[in-house]
């Protein structure tokens, strides 16, 4: 079963990371889900695939009433991101799914109706959770052609989808990056192969480096904190991407 860890808390404003499942079948990639709570409202970032729904739901319900989740944020269209949509709709048929306009019609194959999807334009948009204003910010072509991240200016946390991913070996499954130089070797291959556009990467790094970020939270691997955030952005800016290793 996964565990739910509170990574930020300020009164009724919380970020909960749902991470690591020791019982996960080895052929399914590990994922992190993030719940952002403000007062009585909550949004779940990249709720995950159908296969891991029981683990996510049970970990989440230990910390928060899942029927209060009003929205899902889908950074892109992949099955490990949003194929559990139909399960979440069972608990709340009114739940909204924020997703790039490019993918709404595709993600609908996982479930939902016309009313389920709130399409995000290429330029991004603000998303209100309780009284909290979150920013869906563009990360197109990193890796998906319609890709978005979610920034919380108050908590200074960026949910960065697949950017920052590290495919961690067994035994190295800490929630936070503790040794950047050691950690980044597990991120390199993934970023070189999955991130397809150098131009998009430079543009993202330039925009994101202007934000105040205390934590950069990827969908796979460990969370970058403090100086490791800038370290990661600089590392990524200098990385050659979109290449097939021969």
């Amino acid at each position: 079963m996964k565990t739910a860890e509170t990574i930020y808390e300020d009164g009724e404003h919380k970020w909960i990371a749902i991470v690591r499942d020791p019982k996960r079948p080895h052929y399914i990639i590990d994922t992190n889900e993030y719940l952002i709570i403000q007062d009585d409202d909550a949004i779940l970032c990249d709720p995950g695939g159908g296969e891991i729904f029981p683990a996510v739901f049970s970990a989440l319900s230990a910390e928060f009433d899942p029927s209060r989740i009003r929205a899902l944020f889908s950074s892109h269209q992949d099955p490990d991101i949003i194929s559990s949509l139909s399960m979440w709709l069972e608990f709340n048929p009114e739940i909204k799914c924020y997703v790039s306009w490019l993918w709404a019609g595709f993600v609908a194959h996982f479930g939902g109706t016309e009313k389920t999807f709130v399409v995000i334009p290429d330029a991004g948009m603000d998303i209100l959770v309780g009284g909290l204003r979150l920013q869906a910010i563009p990360a197109h072509y990193l890796h998906s052609s319609g890709n978005l991240h979610l920034y919380d200016p108050k908590a200074r946390i960026l949910f960065s989808g697949d950017i920052g991913t590290a495919l961690l070996p067994a035994g190295e499954d800490g929630l936070f990056v503790e040794n950047f130089d050691h950690h980044i070797q597990h991120a390199e291959g993934f970023h070189r192969r999955w991130m397809g556009s150098d131009k998009a990467k430079r543009d993202w790094c330039e925009r994101v480096s202007r934000l105040d970020i205390d934590m950069l939270c990827p969908q796979h691997g460990a969370i970058y904190r403090g100086e490791d955030v800038t370290r990661f952005i600089d590392w990524f800016a200098g990385l050659e991407v979109g290449i097939l290793k021969s």
Binding site: M1, G50, F53, P54, S58, S61, A62, S86, E90, F91
Partner: protein, 204 residues
Amino acid sequence: MTIANQRGQQLRRIVLINEEIKKVIATAFTINLMAMNAIFLAKRAGTTALGFGVLSNELRRFAIDLQKQMAVLSEMTYDSVNTVTALLKQARLNQMLEATAGICNALGKSLVKDVLHSRLNGVLADRQEESHATTRRLSQMLADTVQLVELGSVLARSAKIEAAYGGNLSVSLTQVSSDFERSIGEIQGSLAKLTKHDLEEAAA
């Protein structure tokens, strides 16, 4: 056997049903062509093959009716695919919900059980009824088709008797009527298989 496996087996059965339907449609098309030739042959034989001509005409109508009926059956199997697929999806959702209930704390378990309960009385009951209704319609249509083919078989046997009065062309007419009989026999074989699959479907 799990519900998902049962549904998978139903889908495979529908594929087999569809294959038999295609065979019957192809044979009905052949009977139609054979009947057209038989009509011309009967005309050449003249008044002695008048009865054979009438029966060939009836066999042609039979072939056309059979083709139409099989097209409707084919549409019905398409409906069955839709229903079984929906049930398969629901079974999968249920499986995941049951797995979720098994590992949740009190709040999560109670939420999942409420959803499972309302699904059982709502969407699952509706889908199940839909599936039964489709199966009933399919069975009825199949029974009607068996009757129609029985009529075709009687026509083919009568044509064989009439062929004996075909004068100079009696040998050719007997050959044609034997071909009718053989083709209709093939259709009866296919329908027997379809009925077997239908019974298994109803039992599932």
